[in-house]
Amino acid sequence: MTDQSHSSQERSTGSPLVKRGLAEMLKGGVIMDVVNPEQARIAEDAGAVAVMALERVPSDIRKEGGVSRMSDPEMIQGIQAVCSIPVMAKARIGHFAEAQILQSLGVDYIDESEVLTPADETHHIDKFAFGVPFVCGATNLGEALRRISEGACMIRSKGEAGTGNVVEAVRHIRSINGDIRKITQADSAELFEWAKQLRAPLPLIQEIAETGELPVPVFCAGGIATPADASLVMQLGAQAVFVGSGIFKSDEPVKMANAIVEAATHYQDPQILAKVSTGLGDAMKGLEMATLETKLAERGW
């Protein structure tokens, strides 16, 4: 062994690479919404790569109405205490004070989420001001790029949370990836028009034209309720899935959680998908888009 006798090495924390790095580690995995330590344990036992701690799953938020806020710190700490996998938590759009509190609790990722009631109708949180990384929702490429320009380190397509209906998730992931494909075909003059149309920073558009992908991982959320749903959105280009109400509002949450974890790994293998889809009981009941009073995906600007 050569001389390794540095007294104390220089370490830098909170850098973009470190913040995006955790999202890289979650790829191919399932992030599950949990509302208490028992559910967190079930999620970890089933092979979740992370849990999202929140007070009510989106389908209950939809049902009960009212203002939806950051969870009680005690509840988040209770989940951190039983979980060895990363714990994420949600802050309201624009509510940087909630985000500061979540950072002080040591959560591993903050979701600036449209599932909660927005706190600011113009501004999202300045996410560069934080050492903890942020994930933000997006319905299209322009929204995704605006969030990235504010410092988001992971994008999740929004879908329509709490519906158990994958149709919006498909629309959003298709819209994001479809526009990326078109931009890679655009010439340099057309990129200015893309930036204008999408209301997005030109350098990010130029970067996409070059690389053919977003500079941060893209996951999918909002309406995934079965292993086949997970396979569908991953075949459409999502790199991991968030499952909210889909697990704990199904008949057999343990089985459903296990099955969706396997589906995220083997999303291209219909035989394995058939096997894991067998005997799961009923998935969550689900809602038609036309019946919705509030579309959560419309929150965020």
């Binding site: 390794q4 790095g21 580690m25």
Partner: protein, 211 residues
Amino acid sequence: MTGSVTVGVLALQGAFAAHLSILRDLGVEACEVKTNEQLASVDALVIPGGESTTMSMLLVKGDMLDPLRQRVDDGMPVFGTCAGMILCSERIEDGRADQHCLSAIPIVSRRNGYGRQIDSFEAELDVTGLDEPFHGVFIRAPVVDSVGDDVTVLAAVDGQPVLCSHGPVTVASFHPELSGDPRLHRRWLIDAGLLPEGLAEASDETAEVTP
């Protein structure tokens, strides 16, 4: 080494795509490994970063644990990074009770030993045998608590090993696949006899295709 060599990257979950792209940039045949059939077809295996408990469970669900252990016992070269290092260890501290490891290298790993995400960090590493420092990216990284006598420690942070090798097995508690620097992959392949030494540092002199 004659004939073509295929390096697999365990692709059950995690940062496998980044490893595949580094290996392909080195001119190596590389493929995803999600099943026993794919495992049987590769000559060496990278186990990437990700969530080690999830990977362990998926190995069990896919009936891959025993075949993988067998390959490791038979001397298959393995490069484990972060979660991959945890899986390669002889013992895991702060893991789950049902979490498996492969005993590919006699070290003890402590999961998330450097803390939560807010403590994740970057650091310049002096690596034995490399002229220039290597940029290490540590994400909720495991700590190497102890190493066996015959383990070579190639780099350390504050006295704690972060890069170790033992025969054809190399493990890193950080993510060489994230810093865009192929030197550690290349070195592992050369040590394992899978890449001729002459190719080192030679990206612009691909001998066999010169007209």
